[in-house]
Symmetry: C3
Subunit: 208 residues, 3 copies
């Protein structure tokens, strides 16, 4: 298996994680199965499409038919496996964290490959990571999780993207370090959610 | 009249249909005439702009000044013809169905022309078809019609895009078959709305 | 200082104005400082990214690391300077008007440079000008200011873009006229807001 195959598999995994978060939200909001497929596709593929448009290539989701598999799989899994809904909220956050983690690492890596400067690469990594979830929440008329002051959402993506740039500048960017960064971002995000970490508000001294 | 001219006229017709749906929604929400023009333009041109960006060309709406005509026309028609508002809802759905139908056929056709694979062509056809309406509803702070479980919205677009790919693979793709597919999608969509067809919910066995 | 430097500085100024409007809205909605940075970046950079994607170039925000400075600056300014919030609303409108004015002039200018036709250049100027604010309001779940019938928002952008096309066709397009158009659009917009100018509603004869 070449390095490129592994990157493709990681990318598809990220699509699947975000698609699951979209389909779970669709289920919670009482959408039908087609709405579930559409929201899953939008969330799973949206961040990567924006990333590829900015880089200036035909989006992977529209050049490789494999990319339709994860959203279809997520729609079917949610349809057949979830007849009860008690734990939707937690599961949604965990799958969302998986998508955030994978897309942050791969988005930054792809930016560096296409010779964007380090600052822009971090920006594109974060954009890819938070883009899908932002589209999901805006489309489903939810307050975007990214703006929830009770939650630390984007900081793990910033940290992961910066780490990828550092590793790349040291010549240590490969499949193993990319996967390690994704795992670290995932852990950071899930811990931040589980233990209610917070960052200061937009205005100093404002009381919550 | 060449084949390309007919495709252009069809595309402008799709822009007009979606622009009408945008201007009617603007009227219903009490926007002013400039907001009507902006929402009509966004809905009419948005889906095609996304389509062309993904294909990787300068969007038709920004290379051909003719594309501004349908939104202006829709704004003026809504301004002068609708002094009463009782039938806005139904008209909005019918115009929206027209846009969906035309853009689904033309979007898929354009994807095939630019050598996207069949699966991606269907995906792009559906994206073009549902994109404008999604932008309309999200922008105007409505729950997107696409996610309404009481309504069958995207299925006709999926069916139409798949049919276009089939016709193309048989070498039967031309102006007449494109128009026929658009008419069929329009009929399917309007019937589904009129007779309250439904598809299963995102989760099996969930009671409505 | 070359002409290109001045255009870059103007563009960064536009990013800063819109970023301020985003960070002020983030403060008003009680977002945390990371949400403030993200919303400021989205509003400041969003319109220009859409503009550059439509023209078909790698977005300036992702090729020049300087573009990250205005959003960071805006986030810090709002964090340290605003401990009281009484005048947020007015300030937000003024900064938003600054972004609208600068982006309308530069967006139209950039479209003309890349040989778009006059009609499309006006359309792109208006898109660039209103795009950031639209993204801001939709993302933060507000009714977009652009659609507020009590307010004249897009007309100054239309007027400014048309004026830029006129000046360009006369061969009078340079840094001074671009700046003058931006100042005029800013004044028009602020006056319209201050004195509650209005345009007719989307439907003739509809009572407010």
């Amino acid at each position: 298996m070449t390095e490129i195959d592994v990157i493709l598999i990681l990318d598809l995994l990220g699509v699947f994680f975000f698609a699951m978060s979209g389909c779970l939200l669709a289920a919670r909001k009482g959408f039908d199965i087609v709405g579930s497929l559409l929201l899953g596709s939008l969330v799973g593929l949206g961040g990567g499409v924006v990333r590829d448009l900015i880089i200036g290539i035909v989006p992977a989701a529209f050049s490789n038919p494999l990319y339709i598999v994860p959203p279809v799989l997520a729609t079917l899994l949610v349809y057949f496996l979830f007849s009860h809904v008690e734990r939707f909220g937690g599961l949604l956050v965990v799958f969302d964290a998986g998508g955030l983690a994978v897309f942050c690492a791969i988005g930054t890596q792809k930016a560096l490959e296409f010779d964007l400067n380090p600052v822009s690469s971090i920006l594109l990594g974060v954009t890819t990571a938070v883009g899908g979830g932002l589209l999901r929440d805006v489309t489903a008329n939810e307050v975007p999780r990214i703006f929830d002051p009770q939650d630390v959402y984007a900081v793990p993506a910033f940290a992961g993207a910066a780490l990828m740039v550092l590793l790349d500048s040291l010549g240590w960017s490969n499949v193993i370090t990319i996967s390690a960064v994704a795992v670290a971002v995932f852990g950071f995000r899930v811990l931040a959610w589980r233990y209610h970490w917070q960052v200061p508000l937009a205005v100093q001294g404002w009381r919550r």
